[in-house]
């Protein structure tokens, strides 16, 4: 059974997801989903420990050799991302009970949790698989279910529907570009397996064969991935989708979906094309840095202009993705380490903050800035979590957000790019503005008449919020373990495919 963990990571949520349809009403779907995500989380820890101790693990489906069948390959990089995704999944699932009951009609709960588990299944699958086409299929599984989950927010605000539709259109275009890119790669390498593809591509690139086809494949993949990870200026689907989705869904998605897309990008750029191609033959570093740098500034300004706090955080997510993209685009170890560790820290921070907003929505029915005014005294724990998360977004030292930025900053200087360092700092300043605007309203604003009688959110929700925020603080203070894991992952990725031979 232990050897089968890679398969179970995906199959278990898949089977459990469909079984959820039969679990009936009330709390049963929730309990079932919680149990499953808990098991998945435990498995991800086991897997990460195994990968860290003994190197990459490969699992062949149907025992077909990896060049024919589908192989799952886990190395330091995706072992880490798996851990992040399953951690967030476990916490948000446990959190979701009351929030979802509040926002989703009772007779749709089993459908909601079925979609929920399938989304998680897809996200884990994208991360774990070593087969490029499998990436596409699982990406669509997670996206399709996600579209539906976001659309379910329309009972609270009908804009969820248009937000979801926009996500469907742009997300599908992105995925189709991905499919095209994978098609071209398959055309010239004759394989779908990432390891094989990497090896053969290196030979082709080295001999300068098919260089135009490789370039076309690269272009399609880069654009498709950028759409999926919402890199500025391909980000338009994200803010509304995050804002109008049900609270728990936002918590899950914001912390995991774009992170997984970032992982895919790193995997394709470093693990399949190889850094010599991605940042040597094609000078994508400049393009990515420009987009991400402008994105950090633009989204920071937008975030400061929003009146719905969920929107503020959604725009801020775009900026944080910008940092992550900057990190790996610098193409050096410090930058990539910063990116990877920021995947974890930002997931924890943003997940925790959205869960805190979920608590607010649960008590007040909305998350506009006016709702949050004066809540510092009514919901002290939730708001303390929100504030601690906000400090993390700014990148305040001692919070998780700082570690990633520090390494990305070191990376920028290693690359001799002072301008990027300045952009990172300006981005942090913008973060100060938009976080402070909300925090000021929380602690110094006068409560609106509607929220005078608000009380602290139920304990289960607050505890989950604090688990994530607390972990982000711990990762900021005792960050050696997370940085070690990230540095291992970065080394593996810089060396090409994570040594999975």
């Amino acid at each position: 059974m232990i050897d089968s963990i890679p398969a179970l990571m995906v199959v278990l949520p898949l089977m459990a997801g469909v079984i959820t349809v039969f679990t009936g009403k009330g709390d049963k779907p929730w309990a079932w989903a919680t149990a499953i995500t808990g098991i998945v989380f435990a498995m991800s820890i086991a897997l990460l420990a195994e990968v860290t101790a003994h190197g990459p693990v490969t699992y062949n489906f149907g025992n077909w050799p990896s060049q024919y069948g589908i192989a799952y390959t886990i190395d330091a990089m995706n072992g880490f991302v798996l851990f992040v995704v399953s951690l967030i999944a476990a916490v948000t699932t446990y959190y979701s009970r009351l929030s979802v009951k509040d926002e989703i009609p009772n007779d749709r709960l089993h459908i909601f949790y079925a979609l929920w588990l399938l989304t998680i299944c897809g996200l884990l699958g994208i991360t774990i698989t070593g087969d490029t086409f499998n990436v596409y299929v699982l990406l669509e599984i997670s996206s399709l279910t996600l579209y539906a989950l976001i659309a379910m927010g329309y009972r609270r605000d009908r804009r969820a529907l248009t937000a979801s539709l926009r996500y469907v259109i742009l997300g599908s275009v992105g995925a189709s570009f991905l499919l095209l890119g994978i098609g071209y790669l398959m055309m010239i390498t004759g394989t779908l397996n990432m390891v094989d593809m990497h090896d053969r591509l290196q030979v082709l690139i080295h001999n300068d064969e098919y260089s135009r086809t490789i370039m076309v494949a690269y272009a399609f993949l880069l654009v498709g991935l950028s759409l999926k990870l919402a890199l500025f200026p391909l980000h338009m689907w994200l803010p509304n989708a995050y804002t109008y989705a049900p609270s728990a869904v936002t918590g899950l998605v914001a912390a995991t979906a774009t992170k997984v897309a970032v992982y895919m990008t790193i995997r394709f750029l470093f693990g399949i094309f190889g850094r010599d191609f991605s940042f040597g033959a094609v000078e994508s570093s400049d393009v990515l840095l420009t987009c991400a740098g402008l994105g950090v500034l633009y989204t920071g300004i937008q975030a400061a202009r929003q009146n719905n706090v969920k929107s503020v955080l959604a725009w801020s997510s775009l900026g944080q993705i910008g940092y992550i993209v900057i990190g790996f685009s610098l193409n050096n170890e410090n930058g990539l380490t910063g990116s990877v560790v920021h995947i974890l820290n930002h997931a924890l921070i943003k997940g925790g903050m959205f869960l805190a907003l979920g608590c607010v929505a649960y008590r007040l029915g909305g998350t506009r800035l006016t709702h949050l005014k004066g809540l510092g005294r009514k919901m002290p724990w939730t708001m303390a979590a929100f504030t601690a998360g906000g400090l993390g977004l700014i990148g305040f030292p001692l919070t998780g957000g700082f570690i990633g930025k520090w390494y990305i900053g070191l990376g920028a200087l290693d690359a001799g790019n002072w301008l990027i360092l300045v952009v990172i700092m300006l981005g942090s300043l913008l973060a100060v503005i938009y976080v402070f605007r909300v925090v000021y309203a929380i602690y110094f604003g006068e409560a609106e008449p509607d929220s005078v009688h608000a009380t602290e959110a139920p304990a289960s929700m607050v505890v989950c919020t604090w688990i994530l925020i607390g972990m982000s603080l711990v990762c900021g203070l005792w960050s050696e373990w997370s940085v070690d894991l990230a540095a291992n992952a970065a080394k593996a990725m810089l060396a090409g495919f994570g040594g999975a031979h």
Binding site: V137, L144, Y154, D157, R158, T162, L165, S172, L179, M186
Partner: protein
């Protein structure tokens, strides 16, 4: 190889590209969300054609390969032997089967959402939807009166 020859030799790729571009154009240019969804399907169909085109395997004497069907009279060992028939690569077909299912599901989800949009906004024209959103009439749950308010605008 002159241009006409290149074009005619690879006519299947040209068709794939043209279908793709029609679809992509529709996604970008059409202001009707149903048309956008259908254009998306068209775009993906173009990609399927591209994949199918690449599945063809030519025999050394220039003929196309056989359909990869396992005939009962052929033994398994025969399949692997060098002298055996040349099959087309079945893998792209299999991949496209999956992709078709995905594409259909996307269309289904998109249509389901569009049906709901029509119900809530009373229209499927993007401009009108944006108009309704811009006027801030949707800051509320999906109730009958809210729906009528939006409907009254159209």
């Amino acid at each position: 190889m002159n241009f006409i020859e290149a074009a005619s030799d690879h006519y299947n790729y040209w068709i794939a590209v043209i279908v793709m571009m029609i679809g992509l154009y529709g996604v970008i240019a059409k202001r009707n969300i149903v048309k956008q969804a259908i254009s998306l399907g068209l775009f993906q169909t173009g990609i399927f054609l591209l994949y199918i085109s690449m599945a063809v395997v030519f025999t050394p004497d220039g003929k196309m390969g056989e359909a990869p069907v396992k005939h009962s009279e052929r033994l398994a060992a025969d399949v692997l032997s060098v002298a055996g028939p040349v099959y087309d690569n079945p893998l792209p077909h299999v991949l496209m089967l999956t992709a078709i299912v995905v594409s259909v599901s996307i269309l289904a989800v998109a249509l389901a959402i569009i049906v709901n949009i029509k119900r809530c906004y009373g229209t499927v024209e993007e401009d009108e939807i944006l108009d309704i959103e811009a006027q801030g009439l949707l800051d509320g749950p999906d109730t009958k009166s809210n729906r009528e308010k939006a409907g009254a605008l159209v």
